[in-house]
């Protein structure tokens, strides 16, 4: 289970509406995922405090709704003709005396809207390649590796790297070689998946691969940092 799946189900989990299998999967994920545990704790707090709120209800709800409905009906014109006449009267009764500055401001606004519309129209007819066919030369809209999820992973990676660097010198050659090999594969995978995600930000598969590459780097560093 990944964090996206967990977030979709966390609310039902807190409400006790999941079956046992799904509950187990979520709990397994929560055991290893601090951000999702934080989300669960926030939801639990909300439920807890909501439960403590005092219920407010009118003394006679049926009577209240009846009075509201009666008032709405009374304020509306009865027939379509009456409604149209009502609208025309409102329009006719407005005072349309504008000053010269007001007229100039309206004219300027209309000209601005026209110019912007023309520019957008022109741009859309010369559109660059759509997402998924990126040429890699520019970062398309939607690419966002600075999301909190990736930033957290980057931070964790920096911390673990520092720990590993301190301990690496004392390992034997076998362990050092295994670590260096693992890091080469991890960094290669991270670089490639990062580039693919930049080129195809709308591609869910690319985003998942990038997320998995980040998590794998954390896993490798955690494992060797324990040595």
């Amino acid at each position: 289970m990944n964090c996206t799946d967990c977030h979709e189900m966390i609310s039902d989990y807190v409400d006790g509406m999941l079956d046992l299998g799904e509950q187990t999967k979520i709990e397994r994920h929560l055991a290893n995922c601090e951000p999702c545990r934080a989300v669960r704790d926030d939801l639990l707090q909300i439920v807890h405090f909501s439960g403590q709120l005092v219920m407010h209800a009118p003394p006679n709800p049926a009577d209240l709704w009846q009075r509201i409905q009666t008032q709405i009906v009374a304020e509306q014109p009865r027939t379509a003709t009456a409604q149209l006449k009502n609208w025309w009267q409102r329009l006719h009764s407005r005072d349309f005396n504008f000053s010269i500055p007001q007229v100039a401001a309206v004219a300027a606004a209309l000209i601005l809207v026209a110019v912007i519309s023309l520019a957008v129209f022109k741009k859309s007819t010369d559109a660059p390649p759509i997402a998924g066919q990126g040429n890699g030369k520019e970062v398309p809209l939607g690419y966002n590796e600075t999301s909190p999820e990736f930033q957290e992973l980057e931070q964790r990676i920096r911390e673990l790297k520092a720990t590993v660097e301190q301990r690496k010198a004392s390992w034997g050659s076998d362990l050092q070689s295994s670590f260096e090999r693992s890091m080469v594969y991890v960094d290669q995978s991270l670089d490639e998946s990062r580039q693919e995600y930049k080129n195809n930000p709308a591609d869910e598969a690319c985003r998942e691969l990038l997320r998995n590459a980040y998590r794998e780097k954390v896993r490798v560093l955690q494992g060797f940092a324990n040595f």
Binding site: M1, G21, K25, G132, S170, W171, G172, S173, D174, L175, S178, R181, S182, Y185, V186, Q188, S189, E192, S193, E196, N200, D203, E204, A205, C206, E208, L209, N212, A213, E216, R219, V220, G223, N226, F227
Partner: protein, 228 residues
């Protein structure tokens, strides 16, 4: 004289030691093995006991912890790490959890959950009819030949290596494949997938009634799915 002493010290550090233990769980057992450098082979048998046999260097001492039906074996981390090769037989309904840094892993014949985490290991999973599996290696091929019998999920991931899976045509699953290399071959399953979504780096779809998620992921390698 000095050379003799040094030689003796070196040989003591790497002298092979045998670890032989048998455990008798009362119910369904949970077996965890944490190795560092060496192979782990776990095979199901029709006895009720768990038999562990390991050949380990004296620089790779093995500690055990038994709590009820939960058996944990761990090779203690020493610098430099010693080598230990495990050969284990256990009842088919044992839940298996294996961790390793480097060394081959093989699991054969089980009917309960399997979890494998390693960094540099080829993993072979043979004749597994299991409710869920979670395999995650940094470098190494993953080979799976078995059946999906539960709610899943079934996740096989390697950064560098191939994922090769063989399943019966009757298995229903919700497939998700991701391969940075774009080398995905679903074989005869391709024609029987429905609701297929294709991306440059992945294919998803439903086989038969769908249900348990089958996630196959590799960054630098191939994904191959075969019908048996």
């Amino acid at each position: 004289m000095l050379l003799a002493v040094v030689g003796w010290c070196a040989s003591s550090a790497t002298a092979a030691v045998k670890f032989d233990k048998t455990y008798s769980p009362q119910g369904r057992a949970r077996l965890s093995v944490a190795n560092i450098n060496g192979s782990i082979t776990v095979t199901a048998w029709n006895r009720k006991t768990i038999a562990v046999s390991a050949v380990n260097e004296s620089s790779a001492p093995i500690s055990e912890r038994v709590i009820g039906d939960s058996i944990s074996l761990e090779v203690r981390k020493t610098i430099p790490p010693g080598k230990a090769d495990f050969q284990i037989f256990a009842p088919a309904d044992t839940a298996i959890s294996l961790k390793n840094y480097m060394g081959r892993i093989e699991v054969r014949g089980f009917r309960n959950d399997v979890s494998i985490k390693s960094y540099d290991s080829d993993v072979r999973l043979i004749d597994l009819r299991i409710p869920s599996i979670d395999v995650n290696v940094t470098a190494g091929d993953i080979f799976f030949d078995g059946e999906l019998t539960g709610d899943g999920p079934y996740t096989l991931q390697t950064l560098k290596g191939d994922v090769d899976v063989t399943l019966p045509a009757s298995n229903s699953f919700q497939l998700s494949t991701r391969a940075l290399s774009e080398k995905i071959n679903l074989g005869d399953f391709m024609s029987s997938l429905t609701g297929t979504s294709k991306f440059p780096k992945g294919i998803s779809g439903t086989h038969l009634r769908g249900g348990p998620r089958l996630n196959l992921i590799t960054f630098n390698g191939r994904i191959q799915l075969h019908k048996k």
